[in-house]
C-alpha cells in the first residue's frame, strides 16, 4: 500500500470509540468505553502526521515518543509499538484510560488547530490492552545490585518508582496500607472507568519483575520510616502515600447519617465492591435522592456510581431509580473535571446545579439526613486561583430533598506515614517538602517522595512522572561508589 500523503491523512476523521449506551451502562458497573478494534486503531493511527518536532511529546508529562509508537502501530508492528510506549510509561493500559489527554498531548497535536487531534489516548489503550490480552510481556530486569529500596504506597507514583528500580536490578518492596495495591486506581476510580483487572494485571507484571508487595502495612504504625532504613536494612525509601485525607463541608449537620466523604463512598463501592453487596460483605447506602458536592473527577465518579447503585436498586425492588445531583458553587466554565466525564455523567442522567452552595444539612429524629439548604451564587472578581469568585446571592436560599450527600471537596496527605519522622519537613498544606523538584529528594537523608503526597491531589500521570524521576535519582544514589 502506498504511503498516504499529508493531505490524505488530514482528511481522515477521528474515529469514535465503541461505548455502552447511556441507558444500558447506568444499570451496570462494567466499563463504559470499549476500546478500538485493530482496524479502527490502524485507521486512527493513519491520521498522525509524524511531525518532525512533535508537540504532543512535549505535552506528555513522561514524554512518550508518541509519533514513533503510532507509526509502529500503523505498520502493524505491535511489539515495537509496545516497546516504545513502555520504555517511557510502565502503566499504559491505565494511562490510556484515565489521563486527561485533552489537556496534555492531544490539545497540542497539530491537527487540533483545524480539526480533531489524533486520539492518542485511545491508541495507547489499544496497544496496552493488546499486550494484556496476550498475557503481558515481562520487561527485562538488570542483574541484581544487592541494594534494597522500600516504597511506601502502591499508587501510580509508588508502582512506577518500583518498576524502574526493579528494572535497574534493585530489590524493591512495596508497603501498602490497604489490602489491595493500586492506590486511587483501586479505591477511588470506579470499575466502569478503569476495570480493576487492568490494574491487577499491571501489578502482576511488576511481581514477575521481582517486586515484592506487602499489603496491610501501615507505615508509621507497623514500621516507621526510620525502622525501614535502620532495622529493616533498606538503602533508600520512596514515599508515594498520596493525598488520602478527605476535607469535609463546614456547615451545620455534616455528621448526620448519609453525609459521607467521596473517599468513603467510593471506597465502599470500588475497593470493597459494595455494588455487589450482599455477595460482598460491605454495604453502601443507596440514596433515593443524592447530592454530590463539588465538580472534579472525584465528584463525577461519585455521582455516576450513585446513579448506578440507584438503578441496580430499582431493578431489584421495582422502585424508582435514584435522582443524582451535582452541586457546584461556580459555573460550568470552572468545572475542574475532565470534559469527557462531565459529558458521560450528563448522558447518564446526572443533574447539574451550578452556582449553588450548601449552607446547612438537616436530620430527622433518628439522626438520618433528610434535607439540605442551599444558596444560589453569582460570580464576582477573580480570586487567587484566577477563577471568578462565587458570591452568595442574599435571600436566594432554597431546600433540596436529599437522603445522601457525598462531599467531594478535595483531599490532603494523610499524616500517618510521618509518625516519628521529624526530619521530614512538610509544607503548611501538609505535603512533603522536596529539596529538588526534579528528583523528589526530601529533607530527610535517603528518603524521596513523589505524587500526590508532594503536589496535593493531581493526576495519575504526574504521580507516575514523579515516581520515575525519583527512581532515576535513587538509582544514581545507590550506584554511587563513594556512598
Amino acid at each position: 500500500m502506498a504511503e498516504l500523503t499529508i493531505k490524505e491523512r488530514r482528511q481522515i476523521q477521528r474515529h469514535p470509540m465503541l461505548a455502552q449506551e447511556p441507558a444500558e451502562r447506568r444499570t451496570n458497573f462494567s466499563e463504559v468505553a470499549l476500546g478500538y478494534r485493530l482496524e479502527q486503531a490502524i485507521a486512527e493511527a493513519n491520521r498522525c502526521l509524524s511531525c518532525k518536532k512533535p508537540p504532543c511529546v512535549a505535552g506528555c508529562p513522561v514524554e512518550v515518543d508518541i509519533p514513533d509508537f503510532i507509526v509502529a502501530l500503523r505498520n502493524g508492528d505491535l511489539d515495537e509499538s509496545l516497546r516504545i510506549l513502555k520504555s517511557k510509561n510502565s502503566l499504559p493500559a491505565i494511562c490510556g484510560r484515565v489521563c486527561p489527554q485533552e489537556t496534555q498531548c492531544e490539545i497540542v497535536c497539530v491537527l487540533a488547530k483545524k480539526a480533531e487531534p489524533v486520539a492518542i489516548g485511545r491508541l495507547e489503550r489499544f496497544i496496552a490492552d493488546w499486550d494484556l490480552e496476550r498475557g503481558a510481556e515481562t520487561p527485562a530486569v538488570a542483574a541484581p545490585t544487592g541494594r534494597k529500596v522500600a516504597i511506601i504506597g502502591a499508587g501510580p507514583a509508588g508502582l512506577t518508582c518500583a518498576a524502574d528500580l526493579a528494572k535497574a536490578g534493585h530489590k524493591v518492596t512495596v508497603f501498602e496500607a490497604l489490602h489491595d495495591p493500586g492506590g486511587v486506581l483501586v479505591y477511588g476510580i470506579p470499575e466502569f472507568r478503569l476495570p480493576k483487572d487492568v490494574v491487577f494485571a499491571e501489578v502482576g507484571c511488576l511481581e514477575r519483575m521481582g517486586v515484592e508487595f506487602v499489603s496491610d502495612a501501615v507505615i508509621g504504625k507497623l514500621y516507621t520510616i526510620d525502622e525501614l532504613l535502620d532495622e529493616k536494612g533498606y538503602d533508600a525509601v520512596f514515599i508515594g502515600s498520596g493525598a488520602g485525607l478527605p476535607s469535609f463541608l463546614r456547615v451545620p449537620g455534616v455528621n448526620y447519617n448519609g453525609v459521607m466523604s467521596a473517599n468513603e463512598f467510593l471506597t465502599r463501592v470500588n475497593l470493597m465492591k459494595g455494588y455487589q453487596f450482599p455477595e460482598y460483605d460491605t454495604p453502601v447506602k443507596v440514596g433515593r435522592k443524592v447530592a454530590v458536592i463539588g465538580a472534579g473527577n472525584v465528584a463525577m465518579d461519585a455521582a455516576r456510581s450513585a446513579l448506578r447503585l440507584g438503578h441496580l436498586w430499582a431493578e431489584r425492588t421495582g422502585g424508582e431509580p435514584t435522582v443524582v445531583h451535582i452541586v457546584y458553587r461556580r459555573s460550568p466554565a470552572e468545572v475542574p473535571a475532565r470534559a469527557e466525564e462531565v459529558h458521560h455523567a450528563g448522558e447518564e442522567g446526572v443533574i447539574f446545579d451550578f452556582l449553588t452552595n450548601p449552607v446547612e444539612l438537616y436530620g430527622d429524629e433518628n439522626g438520618n439526613l433528610c434535607g439540605m439548604r442551599c444558596i444560589r451564587m453569582e460570580l464576582g472578581e477573580p480570586d487567587d486561583s484566577g477563577r471568578r469568585r462565587p458570591i452568595p446571592i442574599e435571600g436566594s436560599e432554597f431546600d433540596m430533598d436529599v437522603d445522601v450527600v457525598v462531599v467531594a471537596l478535595g483531599t490532603s496527605p494523610n499524616p500517618l506515614v510521618f509518625h516519628n519522622a521529624d526530619e521530614l519537613e512538610r509544607t503548611k498544606w501538609g505535603t512533603v517538602k522536596v529539596v529538588d523538584e526534579t528528583t523528589g529528594l526530601t529533607t530527610k537523608d535517603r528518603v524521596w517522595a513523589g505524587g500526590d503526597v508532594v503536589t496535593g491531589a493531581a493526576t495519575v500521570i504526574s504521580a507516575m512522572g514523579a515516581g520515575k524521576s525519583a527512581a532515576t535519582d535513587i538509582h544514581r544514589f545507590l550506584m554511587d561508589s563513594d556512598r
Partner: protein, 283 residues
C-alpha cells in the same frame, strides 16, 4: 494469611481467637486495635487487641457474634486464617501513675479493658475494676481481671452471677464513697453503656476515658466514616482515638451513626444464613 492458633469459646456468642501476626505483635500496645478481613469478599472489621505476646508473635482478639462477619469469625477453626490483619491502629492508652482508677468493662468490652487495667496496675495505680454482662454466660476473664486489678466487682443485668446490677450502679457507689480518691475512669462496652458511664461520672468531675466503636472502613483516616462529634469539633476515631474524653462526646449522634447500616446488616445476615443452608443441604 494470618493463622488462628488457638480458639476458646467463652459462650455461645463470645469467642477468643489467638492469631499469628508477629509483625503486629511486635508493636502492639494496650488500647490499640486491628482491622481484619476474613476473605476476599469480607468486610474490614475493627477489633480491639485484647492481648498480645511478642515472643510468640500472636495477637488475641475476642469477638461477640452480633452480625454476619462476627458470626462467620466465630465459626472459624484453629488452622483457618484471616486474609488480612492490619495493625496496630489507633493510639495506645496513655498509662500514667495517677493513684486510684476505675476500669469498667461491659460485655465484649471486658476484652479491651483487660490490657488497660493490667498496664495501669503495672504502672503503679490502685486499680478498681467493674465488669458486667447481660447474663452469666456472657461473662469471661473474671480470673484475668482479678489478677489485673486490686479490687473487682462483677455484675450481671439479670443477677445470674455476681451482683444484679448495671455497671453504673457500683460505679456510682464507688464515686460517692471515695470520689476524691478516684483520679480517672476508663470504660469500654456498648455505646449505650459508655454513655451512661459518662453521665454517672460527670457530676463527680472525674475524667472519664472511653474507647469508641464506631463503624469503620479503612481505619487509617482516609474515609471519615468513623467520625465522632466532640465539643471541640469532629474527630476520626481510627486515628485520633479510639480513646476519647467521655464528657466531650455527642452520644446521641454516636449511637445514631452506629445504626446507619441496620437494614443492610440484616440483609447481610439473611444472605449468609441462606448460603449456610445451601451448604448444609449439599453436604
Amino acid at each position: 494469611m494470618y493463622e488462628i492458633l488457638e480458639k476458646v469459646a467463652f459462650s455461645d456468642v463470645t469467642t477468643m481467637l489467638v492469631v499469628k501476626a508477629p509483625e503486629v505483635a511486635r508493636k502492639a500496645q494496650a488500647g490499640e486495635f486491628v482491622i481484619v478481613r476474613i476473605d476476599d469478599k469480607g468486610e474490614r472489621i475493627p477489633l480491639t487487641i485484647a492481648d498480645f505476646d511478642r515472643e510468640a508473635g500472636t495477637i488475641t482478639i475476642i469477638l461477640q457474634e452480633v452480625g454476619k462477619s462476627t458470626l462467620q469469625m466465630g465459626a472459624m477453626q484453629v488452622g483457618d486464617a484471616f486474609a488480612n490483619f492490619v495493625g496496630p491502629l489507633g493510639h495506645a492508652t496513655e498509662i500514667e501513675k495517677l493513684g486510684s482508677v476505675v476500669c469498667v468493662g461491659g460485655g465484649v468490652g471486658i476484652a479491651p479493658i483487660y490490657p488497660i487495667a493490667r498496664a495501669l496496675k503495672n504502672g503503679g495505680n490502685h486499680v478498681i475494676s467493674i465488669i458486667g454482662a447481660r447474663d452469666k454466660d456472657l461473662l469471661f476473664w473474671e480470673d484475668k481481671m482479678r489478677e489485673a486489678s486490686h479490687e473487682l466487682v462483677v455484675c450481671t443485668d439479670d443477677g445470674s452471677y455476681g451482683r444484679k446490677a448495671l455497671v453504673t450502679a457500683p460505679l456510682k457507689e464507688i464515686l460517692e464513697e471515695r470520689g476524691d480518691e478516684i483520679k480517672r475512669v476508663w470504660a469500654i462496652g456498648p455505646g449505650i453503656m459508655m454513655k451512661f458511664v459518662a453521665l454517672t461520672t460527670e457530676p463527680f468531675g472525674v475524667k472519664t476515658i472511653v474507647s469508641l466503636n464506631t463503624i469503620m472502613v479503612d481505619g487509617t483516616g482516609m474515609c471519615g466514616g468513623c467520625r465522632v462529634q466532640l465539643k471541640e469539633g469532629a474527630k476520626f476515631v481510627c486515628v485520633d482515638g479510639p480513646e476519647f474524653d467521655a464528657h466531650q462526646v455527642d452520644w446521641e449522634l454516636l449511637l445514631a451513626r452506629q445504626r446507619f447500616y441496620e437494614e443492610e446488616e440484616q440483609r447481610a445476615l439473611e444472605h449468609y444464613r441462606s448460603l449456610l443452608q445451601v451448604e448444609t443441604a449439599q453436604s
